[in-house]
């Protein structure tokens, strides 16, 4: 066999190696150049690159924190406060935007023309304006324009709204609340376990176990038992009261926190509504018709046929919306809610260590993103259609 020898510059094996070497040299060369510059600049300016400063006292106040903090505590602690603030606003935002998005998405599909149009207006308004403008509108346009403490608006509850924030009436545990709390937690756990076990039994044995009703009963009865068994009332209603120049008691949401939470919620809800609408529309009409033909009730059709199939389409874009919300919470710094990024920014000014702080911020956001998407991807894999 006469085999012509391929010259090496056209031999794919050589070319592949050459391409790898060239790209590696370019990338590494660029990195080397950047690092050398970096080291010279930092040396000239005498900047420190270690993380030791995290133990030093921070010395700046944080307006709002969900864990104990005062300026004498360390930079590390301040960073943690920022992280907790980010997580709290993100988790609450995800919770509320999912509910609101579901409502708006269903309203958009409503056969009622007016309801569907109102939902459309809500979606189009929020999707087409920048989140930052929405936050500014809410915070500067609404929350800073609220009446002073003495002229607070009162909503049934009572809920008081004024410049200092939102004050909710809120149940709080009393000293004898421990028993009730323990029973409640036990009730929730047992209800979940009962749900899983009884459902499995139904699947394996094929007989009705009423898992929904049983776990609901456990969920209600156990806390009730705890209430009866506790020596005195386990909960008291904490009503905000005007004393002096400010309200006391109740649950307070600061204007900054409220604006960020509401802004993130309605902005993301508009996107989630579209995701949910697409998911429901993706379920073929024949599926519903077949279910009805088999004699399933409309609630059974929705719960057993439509929602499980819609979930498959909904989950992946929903994950990215949740991640967007978490990342968007960094905009809170513009209206003075001190979350992760805002605290990081103050830390850079105070400690003068831009690079370590930045590495910390980016690593934290990356970790949040990766963990969230990892958890939701596991769930996604469970609901996806398994082809046989």
């Amino acid at each position: 066999m006469n085999r012509e020898k391929i010259p090496f510059w056209r031999d794919e094996r050589y070319l592949r190696i050459a391409a790898q070497v060239v790209s590696a040299v370019v990338i590494l060369g660029f990195l080397y150049w950047a690092v050398v510059n970096f080291l010279t600049v930092t040396q000239q300016r005498g900047m420190s690159l270690t993380f030791g400063f995290l133990k030093e006292p921070a010395g700046f106040p944080i307006s709002e924190s969900f864990i104990l903090y005062d300026p004498q505590m360390s930079f590390g602690r301040a960073f943690l406060v920022g992280l907790v603030n980010t997580l709290v606003v993100s988790i609450l935002g995800i919770f509320f935007s999912t509910i609101l998005g579901l409502i708006v998405g269903l309203a958009r599909l409503s056969s009622n023309w007016l309801v569907s149009r109102i939902a459309l207006a809500f979606i189009e308004f929020n999707r087409n304006i920048p989140l930052l403008v929405l936050l500014f509108l809410l915070y500067f346009g609404f929350f800073t324009k609220l009446p002073g403490v003495k002229e607070s608006m009162e909503l049934p509850g009572p809920i008081y709204i004024n410049q200092r924030g939102l004050y909710f009436t809120w149940p709080r545990l009393t000293e004898s609340g421990g028993v009730f709390l323990a029973f409640t937690i036990a009730g929730v756990l047992l209800a979940i376990i009962a749900w899983i076990v009884l459902r499995k039994i139904r699947e394996l044995k094929g007989r009705e176990t009423y898992f929904g009703w049983v776990s609901l009963a456990i969920f209600i009865l156990l806390p009730l038992l705890g209430w009866v068994l506790s020596p005195s009332a386990p909960l008291r209603v904490d009503i905000p009261e005007l004393s002096g120049f400010n309200f006391r008691g109740g649950l307070r949401f600061s204007p900054e926190f409220s604006a960020v939470l509401i802004g993130l919620t309605i902005y993301t809800a508009a996107f989630i509504a579209e995701v949910i609408r697409a998911g429901i529309l993706a379920v073929r009409k024949g599926q519903v018709e077949a279910a009805r033909a088999l004699g399933l009730s409309s609630s059974q059709t929705l719960g057993l046929i439509v929602i499980p199939q819609a979930m498959r389409v909904v989950i992946p874009p929903l994950i990215s919306q949740y991640l967007n919300l978490t990342k968007n919470s960094s905009l809170a710094l513009t209206i003075g809610f001190q979350e992760l990024f805002a605290v990081g920014k103050v830390t850079i000014n105070q400690a003068g260590r831009a690079v370590p702080v930045f590495i910390l911020i980016m690593a934290t956001y990356l970790a949040i993103s990766l963990i969230t998407s990892a958890i939701l991807n596991v769930y996604n894999r469970r609901v996806q259609f398994i082809e046989k």
Partner: protein
Amino acid sequence: MTMTEQAKSIQPPLPLGPIAWVRKNLFSDWFNAILTLVSIIFLYFAVTAFARWALFSADWRPVTGTPMLFLVGQYPREQLWRPGLSLLFSTFLIGVSWGVWERYVKAFAIFIAITLGIFAILPLKTADLTPAVRAFFLFNSLLIYAGYRVGHTRWMSGMKTSLLWLFVSIVITLVLLPGYENSKIMPSVATTAWGGLLMTLLLAVGGIVLSFPIGVLLALGRRSSLPVVKIFSVFFIETIRGVPLVTILFMFSVILALFLPAESRIDRILRALMGMVIFSAAYTAENVRGGLQAIPEGQEEAARALGLSGFQITWFIVLPQALRLVIPNIVGQFIALFKDTTLVVIVGINDLLGIGNAVLNLNPEFVRLQMEVYLFIAVIFWIFSYFLSYASLKLEKALGVGER
């Protein structure tokens, strides 16, 4: 049954009369009736409250008093002919694009023409809007139509229009707006003076155009069989997508200087633009990857069988098909980027939102008029984004994405 009889029996139903329509769509059962009533009450209160506020109690002076500030920021007033000329080029090319691509651009072009026309006759008593400026806006509005006629002629093609856009953008951003030092006719204008809608559009368009080639390269890199390239692309894309845009903008405005030779300085706006480009490139890469994955393996195999080289396969076979598929996604991303340009206020650039903040501090009487100013800005963004997504929807239908 004969054919004609069958055709008769499946005639489309007659359109509903108004009363029947209301009964079917608003009061089909008692639940819907309640929903309708609640919605009407809600709408009535919302609309009247808003109208009362907007017409009687709102103070629109910060918005109406300084239209030029919102358009071009602090750009020297005696040099206004330069952004004006840029607008002239742009409106003409919008018209040409309308002629060439017809209905995808039609709504947008007509909208711009009408907006400019309205601007020309707006009954505002401000020093900014001289008769000359008004005439200029009106002229631009007519220029769109002139461009449309030109776009209709035979020698105008999509390729030529795209190249013209590219050429004009380069001229505008690198020559016309910055100008030259020691030049009598076009003295240099520092980028700190640029602002308003001009800045927003520059950042958005610049961001998407510059990020596109990088994004395509990253997408190809991610699908490459060369480990070094692949690992680098994946690392880059996932890192950028995992962090908020604010951190990237901030990194470019604060940290970038540390990684460059000590004496070098990069313009503030260029730094912000670099941040937007890097951010957008990672998302473009993921969009393009989706397109690449949708191309059947057979295409590549067939090309290989015909003896095309690896580069030829990518350039002539895979990429054209993949990019066609992802055009709607790219438009969606452009809308997102356009809205995200507002974040540059955080690094101290006076885009539209930044100008809004500045206007509030212009006059002590304006300090508490945030609602009016931000609402105005929201409306501008809304209009642009809405028309872009409308065009994207048309495009999606025309390309038949998801139907093949």
